[in-house]
Subunit: 172 residues, 2 copies
């Protein structure tokens, strides 16, 4: 079964972007980039929420060399050739995806997609690269969920840019 990981860069107060969608506050250092590069080696599929995809689509291309799925009931066609739109229920789609042959799956976000996948018990691991900033306001990482998710700490890494990557296994 393919592993599904929700991995994000976040502020300490759990915002993934400023209110206007900007992420100028995201840091990049050699050691954090190389940790992310290691993670990418395990991935061949990226799942995007529609809002997150809207945020980044003008600013960066869909990831190359991997399959990109964007969940949306609104979008008719994607701006990007490397992207497949999924109108189906995300949980149902991911249930099937997990059983297919392939490398692991990266849930890029956003919070609404993650919420539906957490609630359906489809996320296996969580990684948060916590940035040394309280943004004060912005687009929230987490949305209220119907149930508690219990985690087990796998690893905690400190990077030279002051970010802390915490990685967890979902246990129930």
């Amino acid at each position: 079964m393919r592993k599904v990981t929700f991995r994000v860069a976040t502020s300490l107060d759990n915002y993934i972007a400023r209110q206007d969608g900007s992420f100028d506050w995201i840091l990049q250092s050699e050691d954090s980039s190389s940790s992310l590069a290691e993670f990418w080696k395990t991935i061949d599929t990226v799942l995007w929420g529609r809002k997150t995809y809207d945020l980044v689509k003008g600013r960066m291309p869909a990831y190359k060399g991997v399959k990109n799925y964007v969940f949306s009931r609104k979008l008719k066609e994607s701006a990007d050739q490397g992207v497949e739109l999924i109108n189906q229920d995300a949980a149902e789609f991911v249930q099937v995806l997990k059983k297919q042959e392939g490398q692991d799956v990266f849930v890029m976000g956003g919070g609404e997609l993650a919420k539906s996948l957490f609630e359906a018990d489809l996320i296996d691991e969580v990684g948060m690269n916590i940035h040394p900033v309280l943004l004060g306001s912005g687009i929230a990482l987490f949305h209220e969920m119907k149930r508690q998710i219990n985690l087990e700490l796998i690893e905690c890494k400190t990077f030279s840019d002051g970010c802390v990557l915490v990685s967890y296994r979902v246990i129930s």
Copy 2:
């Protein structure tokens, strides 16, 4: 000048209690308790928001051997002899307090008190003991703030119970 530290136990999704105020999910291990005990040695004053004080007042006594201040415009008298009620603006009060002789100051919370002290640039350090759980809903740790707070990572400690304590200096 006395150092003012906002230190809290929080879930990974930044809740400090369940919706009903319960904190049965808080873990205690020998190493996390001894880290907290070291912190207490530096403290002689605890600041409480009124709501946080309401949450805990039936469940635990105000801390002994330290000065406890509760900020409230509503409360007339405290349930606890060891507690002094402050009707004054929290930021004005803490500005004076910081200049007084004494040990360091512990902002126990909650989020509304922290928000007003962050915005007034009165908090020097932040410590979050991040628990390995997504509660999904509850009482939020952070409230929206008017400005961004930039932090510098001081330390990141992993405890045997799977909690991660991240400590930051406020830089601007």
